[in-house]
């Protein structure tokens, strides 16, 4: 916890080199996504792959650019599980039906 005692110490974390590296990774994942879009995959498989890659990007942005990795762990524990829980609740209501309609439309 000592790293969090003064704000100047907290903000010293993260060099320009690290930020540029994170940015390069974000750009690389973006291009992987674009290439993936031109593979003729089933829509549900395509969607899952794209969303997983996007979650990786979101995690990079939140932890390094938004600095959450260097805040007290309590802040991340407050924000992330509650958000994921709420999104899962929406998914539970919507997605099984969406997948069922997709199966009907594809004629399986």
């Amino acid at each position: 916890m000592s790293a969090h005692e003064s704000s100047s110490e907290v903000h010293a974390v993260g060099s320009t080199r690290l930020f540029v590296l994170v940015w390069v990774w974000l750009a690389v994942i973006t291009f992987i996504e674009v290439f993936l879009a031109y593979e003729r995959l089933r829509p549900d498989l395509m969607l899952s792959l794209l969303v997983v890659l996007s979650i990786v990007k979101a995690a990079l942005i939140v932890s390094y650019f938004m600095h959450l990795k260097y805040e007290k762990i309590g802040l991340a524990l407050l924000i992330i599980p509650s958000t994921i829980f709420c999104i899962c609740m929406i998914i539970i209501f919507f997605m099984p039906d969406g997948a069922r309609l997709m199966q009907m439309r594809l004629g399986h």
Binding site: H4, E5, G14, T30, M46, L50, I61, M66, T83, L101
Partner: protein, 213 residues
């Protein structure tokens, strides 16, 4: 409370004994995080509703040709990511109390936001010319127009507000009206706008690329 430490100028005891600032951040930053959580849920609900319609509809339009739509939206993604990088460097400069550099990085970030918005608007007008409007599409699936323009429009509104916010912040910080913590809070907002686009781009554009074109 035998002794009181202070973190970021706020008195703290243990987080579990009602310490003044359990997360050791100032209240503006905490407020911004709570706003980000609520806005995340807004976009999550919209994108999930869109995805539901996308999967369930038999003749969902796939209007995005490799050029201009996909090339342009990929470029927009890179521009927005680059503006996040300049924002992070601006926040780092602010914490080093380097005012001149901070102002320059913040203005570069705002410029990235303006480029993004202009590219996005040309992309919108291109779609208008092809017959896609918020209430109709050539394929007769008005839901596509409503959801596409609704979500991208809401995101564009966020970018526009962010640009205004950053310009105010750079001018104010240059004059010494704001502190480096305020710059960091504006950075949180900007990164969030970037983060939302990381989901809008694959779930809307990449899910509907025109494979024939």
């Amino acid at each position: 409370m035998a002794e009181t430490k202070t973190v970021v100028g706020v008195p703290v005891s243990s987080p579990w004994s009602g310490g003044g600032s359990p997360f050791a951040i100032n209240s503006k930053k905490f407020g911004m995080w709570l706003f980000i959580v609520s806005d995340t849920l807004t976009f999550a609900a919209l994108l999930l509703a869109y995805t539901y319609s996308r999967l369930a509809n038999p003749n969902w339009p796939r209007p995005f040709e490799i050029y201009p739509a996909i090339a342009k939206s990929t470029l927009m993604t890179v521009v927005l990511l680059a503006s996040s990088l300049t924002m992070v460097l601006g926040v780092a400069a602010a914490h080093r109390n380097d005012r001149a550099k901070t102002v320059r990085w913040l203005l570069a970030t705002a410029l990235g936001g303006i480029i993004f918005t202009v590219l996005h608007l040309t992309e919108w007008f291109n779609l208008f010319r092809e017959g896609y409007t918020p209430w109709s599409t050539p394929q007769g699936v008005p839901l596509f127009g409503a959801t596409f323009f609704g979500i991208t429009g809401l995101h564009m509104t966020h970018v526009t507000i962010g640009v205004i916010y950053l310009i105010i912040m750079s001018v104010g910080y240059g004059k010494g009206k704001f502190t480096s913590d305020d710059v960091e809070v504006s950075g949180l907002y900007w990164h969030f706008v970037d983060l939302v686009w990381m989901f809008v781009f694959p779930m809307i554009y990449l899910m509907s690329v025109n494979l024939a074109g």
